[in-house]
């Protein structure tokens, strides 16, 4: 073991900040990160073992115990459940003979729950040994498990490839793109490299000016103006500046970046190169969520093609001093690493716990240097702004929301998939576009966004009205909104909280239990009031966006679906206890050997 681990550490130049990569390799080679390996890593990197262990324990796809020769990670997000995830899970349990979150005795198969994997348009889906299996059914599960028992190579089990580049020999995935609507910005034809050659004729300041003039705002959710962010970063005056592209795409319901990375990686990388030029950065990093590891080799190849074209590397496009390269950093399964400062911590090899701000990443980011973090879609759009003009871009969309937006639409609709729309489209128009009828609610922007009712379907998708990072989940009439969505999403936040802030760590659980109490018919009116009051409190007392929005599923449904809650309140009493003495003493009495006296 020692030699193997030593080689891995050496491969990353004994560099502590590459701990993520080191652990990813060890996990891959040993099917877990054995305690002994953690000790060796700690010694070689001159770190305390506790520090190594705390990084290991933070990420979902690192494990100290073997996760199974075949490790099945089955998505448990709301839309997966809508599409039959539970039947698939039961089928796995039956065929495999072990329950979820455990490994068979012979160590052959492990079954694990996992948060959204970015496949909402083709659920139920699972990641098995890094390979994505979509549209699972109980019958398919049987075949897959037989394959495990026969010792088949996992890639042999992919029976057909998806459309577009999904069948590329470096991807070979059954994932489908489901591109339903191509818009004028991201999906328009263009000539590779032209935008880069264009900016090489401008100064970095001029480039920033163009982006500022386009009014493009961040597509990752927060909507900060991209040009302004770049300008702030340049003014921070660090020795080095880093550009990071956020491809963590962890918000349940979004999968647009999966498609950009598959079909338009050149466009994205060109955007990064342009940003790199504007910022005078030498290094760009693409932070790719572990769930999209299956695209990594292909992306590496695209980077190599760009280097061959002299669009990446030194003296780009023949311009002396225009040096910029890109590396890909894999995550290891943590939603909070999509939060920009958590992402930086993760890139430095640490637990992905968000930092206190200020200082903001543009002041002190990666390795304490000024860092710009932009979303995949933001950076991809930049290329077309350069190729056309800021005016061209601004002419689309609304006043405060220029350009187009890629929506990931899933749930109860005929055509789930990717749609590039102009900002300003109404929810009604959107529902018509995707073939949805009898809609009870739309979850705009994923769990951290808002859940709206039909009376609001005339509202428009825009920063001024209904902002969204792109996740749109259509919820049909027959769904149990509280159980299938609000509860599922609250559980998601509980699972994904990094645990630094007390309220985010604990109040989420308290809110969940209160919601369960109400759903069990044991709630009183005061419980609804408390859910609302305490949920609002979450916005003020947590460090990052995760905790600040973790109560949104509860808050926005209380606001927009109050009768649902009221109908569950069965009593006028001001207090109802859920305590059950018989249940509570059963175990202890049984164990000491006495008959409960009730």
């Amino acid at each position: 073991m020692k030699e193997k681990v030593q080689n891995i550490v050496k491969k990353f130049h004994n560099d502590r900040s590459r701990l993520m990569d080191i652990l990813l390799d060890i996990q891959k080679d040993f099917n877990c990160i054995p305690d002994e390996a953690a000790s060796i890593v700690a010694t070689l990197l001159n770190m305390s073992k506790v520090d190594v262990n705390q990084t290991i324990s933070f990420y979902h796809f690192f494990s100290k115990e073997p996760v199974g020769t075949y490790a099945v990670y089955l998505n448990n997000s709301a839309v997966a459940c809508m599409m039959g995830r539970e039947e698939v899970a039961r089928a796995f349990e039956e065929e495999v003979g072990t329950s979820f979150n455990s490994v068979t005795e012979d160590g052959l198969i492990g079954l694990w729950d996992t948060s959204d994997i970015g496949m909402n348009d083709q659920e139920p889906a699972a990641i098995i040994n890094g390979i994505v299996f979509t549209n699972l059914t109980p019958t398919r599960v049987k075949e897959i498990v037989i394959g495990f028992r026969e010792g088949k190579d996992i890639s042999e089990m992919v029976d057909k490839y998806g459309d577009g580049q999904n069948s590329n020999e470096l991807i070979r995935s059954m994932v489908n793109n489901n591109i339903r609507k191509k818009g004028p910005v991201l999906f328009s034809e263009y000539e590779v490299g032209m935008a880069i050659r264009n900016v090489a004729n401008y100064s970095p300041e001029q480039t920033i000016e163009i982006i500022k003039n386009s009014n493009i705002r961040g597509r990752g959710g927060a909507g900060f103006p991209a040009g302004l962010k770049w300008e702030f970063c340049c003014k921070s005056g660090g020795e080095e500046i880093y550009l990071v592209c956020n491809a963590d795409e962890g918000e349940p319901g979004t999968f647009k970046e999966r498609v950009i990375l598959t079909e338009l990686p050149m466009l994205l990388f060109e955007g990064m190169i342009i940003a790199g030029y504007a910022l005078n950065a030498k290094e760009g990093i693409l932070y790719l969520r572990y769930e999209y590891k299956y695209i990594k080799d292909y992306l590496e190849d695209v980077l190599q093609q760009l280097r061959n074209l002299n669009l990446l590397g030194n003296n780009i496009a023949g311009k002396g001093g225009f040096n910029f390269d890109i590396r890909i950093q894999l995550g290891a399964g943590a939603y909070v690493c999509g939060e920009e400062s958590g992402l930086i911590e993760s890139m430095e090899g640490k637990r992905g716990e968000p930092r206190n701000r200020p200082p903001f990443p543009v002041q002190k980011g990666y390795k304490n240097m000024p860092t710009v973090i932009n979303n995949v879609e933001t950076l991809s759009s930049v290329v077309k702004i350069i190729l056309n003009s800021p005016e061209w871009f601004k002419a689309m969309g609304t006043k405060e929301s220029a350009g187009t937006k890629l929506l990931s639409i899933s749930g109860d609709c005929k055509h789930p998939g990717i749609y590039e729309i102009e900002w300003g489209m109404t929810i009604n128009e959107m529902l018509e576009m995707v073939g949805a009828s009898s809609v009870q609610a739309v979850q705009v922007g994923g769990p951290s966004g808002v859940c709206i009712d039909p009376s609001q379907f005339a509202r428009s998708i825009s920063f001024e009205d209904l902002p969204t990072g792109g996740a749109m989940i259509v919820i049909g009439e027959n769904r149990d909104l509280l159980k299938e969505f609000v509860m599922n999403y609250t559980d998601f936040f509980i699972e994904e909280s990094c645990g630094s802030c007390g309220p985010c760590r604990s109040l989420t659980v308290i809110l969940r239990n209160k919601l369960q109490k109400i759903m069990d018919g044991k709630g009183v009116k005061a419980d609804i009031d408390e859910l609302y009051e305490w949920g609002n409190y979450m916005k003020q007392v947590n460090r990052c966006g995760l905790g600040q929005t973790a109560a949104n599923p509860i808050l926005t449904t209380i606001e927009n679906f109050r009768p649902l809650y009221d109908s569950l309140i069965k009593t006028d009493d001001d207090f109802v206890s859920t305590f059950n003495m018989e249940k509570a003493v059963a175990d202890s009495c049984k164990y000491v050997g006495r008959v409960p006296k009730l």
């Binding site: 175990d587 050997g593 006495r594």
Partner: protein, 182 residues
């Protein structure tokens, strides 16, 4: 008008909250002027002899007796206050909540390093003993609690200010120092 009546109890707590109550020092003389004590470990009155105005509860509920006492307090007190972390959240005793009851009992009575005399490995099972609950419950999950005084223990000043406010009807004074815990 007769004086307001106070009762106090300690459930799964360490008596630290009661100690903190006594920490009001000489103000205890003032308190005696203001209120009358009924059932409480402070005066050793064991059963309620009349309806009370305020009940102070220290500790959460770890066994069946705690539940009974708490329910009895709810019946006999107009206002019920959770005093301290254990009453509010379960506190230290709730550390056992993640551990199977079997392991807790084994550790306490059979395998623990301080278990010497229990050579027959007996687990207490007399019918007279309270029954252990599956976990430690905060008081407000069992009965309605009207007020919560945080702290481990709440400072004497916080308890004093709160009692004064309840008795006089004046607004509760909560200066920063009184509710600052780190």
């Amino acid at each position: 008008m007769s004086k307001p009546v106070i009762a106090t109890a300690t459930l799964a707590g360490c008596f630290g909250c009661h100690m903190s109550l006594l920490d009001i020092d000489e103000r205890i003389l003032e308190l005696i002027e203001l209120v009358e004590f009924n059932k409480s470990p402070i005066n050793d009155i064991k059963t309620f002899t009349k309806q009370c105005d305020i009940g102070l509860i220290e500790g959460g509920c770890s066994n069946s007796e705690n539940i009974e006492v708490l329910k009895d307090f709810r019946k006999n007190c107009k206002i019920l206050v959770s005093l301290g972390e254990c009453a509010i959240m379960g506190g230290l005793p709730a550390m056992r909540n993640g551990i199977p009851i079997r392991e807790c009992l084994e550790e306490a009575y059979i395998t623990g390093p301080t278990v010497r005399m229990n050579t027959k490995k007996i687990l207490p099972n007399d019918d007279e003993l309270p029954m252990m609950l599956d976990k430690v419950y905060p008081c407000h999950e069992i009965v309605k609690i009207d007020y919560f005084l945080p702290g481990c223990p709440p400072t004497a000043d916080l308890i004093w200010n709160a009692l004064l406010a309840l008795v006089t009807g004046d607004e509760l004074k909560l200066p920063y120092e009184v509710v600052k815990f780190d």
